[in-house]
Subunit: 354 residues, 2 copies
């Protein structure tokens, strides 16, 4: 008998709806003797408007005590762009040292993506999560005048790159195809590019079984649109990872299906799991959102805790959820009648039930 | 009777082959009384290996005297990555203040792109060409140690943004749909993002007929893969423009068809025209390269000179080349027998002939 303690941040818009379904499915997939204790945190646009807070220090301190965080979606047009993203989402990623931003992309059987003739798409992007152009390191002078100059600084460290590259190699090593592609823009961003390349080459020596290659980020988008089946594991910088994972989600059936994990693989801080999609205020509260991406994020959460806490029951539950999603998506081909958010959640919970 | 003086830089790999065809078609499309004087410059990998030079100062000074530059492709695996890109291609773009990097994307009738159900795709990306993360502004300390730190600085100025944004608005204004989309990552890159947004909003006031919207670069890749027909004109930063134009080329039939112009719209310096594709060393010298992107780049060149020199005959020749390409691509549907580079060039020249 064991228990997992989750902090749940439903957030804004459809985040609330999809998180409820993700928890429903997660609970159904676990054996009776695993207790899930979920504590909800009211963070996001509502709280910001009520109190001006995005992520108070005491909440951050509390969150640190959980096994993992399940997050729905953050953001609302009523809040100036970037305030919640940086004050809450990125703050959590940085405060909890989420250096491995894991984004699997799989074209499930039966799912119609936008590509005419997709092969078998099943790859995972390991996006660096704590460096690059995301550190808020920039500034401007002469604001509002015709002489304004603004900078953005991308920060890259051997330490930060090595840990994420090593994680990506280990993941590639554990997969059947054992392929790792580095994506960067080394021919233009020569300082960061050189560091990424050298670290990549050095770590590669420790993984002789893993086949490696390199693509410039612009070329990578071409391959994602024309030959996504060529990819197995991709490792890349924070910003390039942001860009190519949205594209990867699009070619595998849309961000309605894309899950992600923000991992501190050392286990010092709780890892955080969230769908790649946003809060979609236009369809919020109408039961129209597809909870699949949130449900798959819950599966990533269970898989992560299963490994780090050595609890095989959790990993098995993760597999059961993925199988439930696969079966549900295949059934949509036969019967494409639209269902509500909770109808999809119910169906997935029934299929995943332990 | 008039004449145009072109500097021709065939460059490396297939650059040599496609440039020859582009010149052939360009010449065929012009009326007899327009003389084309093309002077070839040997720059690229061969010259680099022979002399160590990428772009000598005296060559740069000479190039300044031409009406325009036609470039094939630069780069070879025998040269360390980035050396020719930065020492030649980017050096030309920066030295000649090519602030408007123009990249039209059109799905020609009959062309099979990777998308299952593409609508009518016809948009143009106006990529800033002289700022952003492309300025070589970065550095590193403790190279080669586990404490190495590398930075890349994105430089953005009100001056540089305003001129390219204004150019993009003018282009949108002149098109039937009159739509302009700003692509950036304002929620993360807040200093540069805020400057881009404010300049965009200010210039928009001068173009009340142009409908505007904004997309984060990650979301833009989703739309490019799923609803590219939604775009009319896009204006964006140097790096985001690099990334999304390769994707745009992919969804409109591949970089074998994608043309580009690097414009100094003030006319102080010669503008430069080049296919988006690279030197493709794997197929170089075999007559396998499709010269269409180079030919369309020559059409952009003629169109540009037609406008800036008020020579309608050049703009008409540009239209004739585009019509020739459209007709040739449609014929490939009926007869997909592969042709050599020069067979395609001959066919295009015959169709475009004045
Ligand atoms: C909301 C935004 C800050 C975030 C990012 O850029 O990382 C999002 O796009 C994502 O990919 O999770
Ligand atoms: C070769 C490289 C420096 C160049 C760029 O990044 O601009 C290329 O990708 C392009 O798009 O013209």
């Amino acid at each position: 008998p064991s228990s997992i303690r989750l902090a749940v941040i439903p957030g804004d818009g459809i985040g609330v709806e999809v998180t409820a379904e993700a928890l429903k499915v997660l609970q159904a997939a676990l054996p009776q003797d695993v207790k899930v204790e979920g504590t909800e945190y009211d963070l996001g646009a509502r709280r910001y408007h009520a109190t001006g807070e995005t992520l108070p220090d005491e909440v951050l301190a509390e969150l640190k005590g959980y096994d993992a965080i399940l997050l729905g979606a953050i953001g609302d047009p009523s809040v100036p762009s970037g305030v919640l993203e940086r004050g809450l989402l990125l703050k959590l990623r940085f405060a909890f040292d989420h250096h491995v931003n894991l984004r699997p992309s799989r074209l499930f059987p039966g799912v119609q993506g936008p590509l005419r003739a997709p092969g078998e798409i099943d790859f995972v992007v390991v996006r660096e999560g704590t460096e690059g152009p995301y550190t808020g390191n920039g500034g401007s002078i002469r604001q509002g005048t015709e002489h304004e100059v603004a900078t953005e600084v991308s920060l890259n460290t051997a330490y930060g790159i090595e840990r994420v590259v090593r994680d990506a190699f280990a993941r590639a090593q554990a997969r059947p195809r054992k392929k790792l592609t580095l994506v960067h823009k080394t021919n233009v961003l020569v300082f960061a590019g050189s560091l990424w390349s050298r670290v990549f080459t050095a770590v590669a020596a420790e993984f002789p079984e893993v086949a490696t290659d390199y693509l410039h980020v612009d070329a990578a988008t071409i391959f994602l649109a024309t030959q996504p089946e060529r990819f197995d594991v991709i490792v890349t910088d924070n910003l390039f990872g942001d860009i190519i994972t949205d594209l990867a989600a699009a070619v595998t059936g849309g961000i309605g299906l894309a899950a992600s994990g923000n991992l501190d693989v050392t286990g010092t801080f709780p890892s955080m799991f969230e769908p790649v999609h946003g809060s979609a205020p236009d369809i919020a509260g109408q039961g129209k959102a597809d909870p699949t991406a949130a449900v798959l994020s819950a599966a990533l959460l269970l898989d992560h805790l299963g490994r780090t806490k050595a609890l095989p029951a959790l990993s098995e539950a993760a597999r059961a959820i993925e199988a439930a999603v696969e079966s549900d998506l295949a059934e949509r081909v036969a019967d494409p009648t639209p269902r509500t958010t909770s109808e999809i959640g119910d169906a997935l919970a029934a299929k995943a039930a332990a």
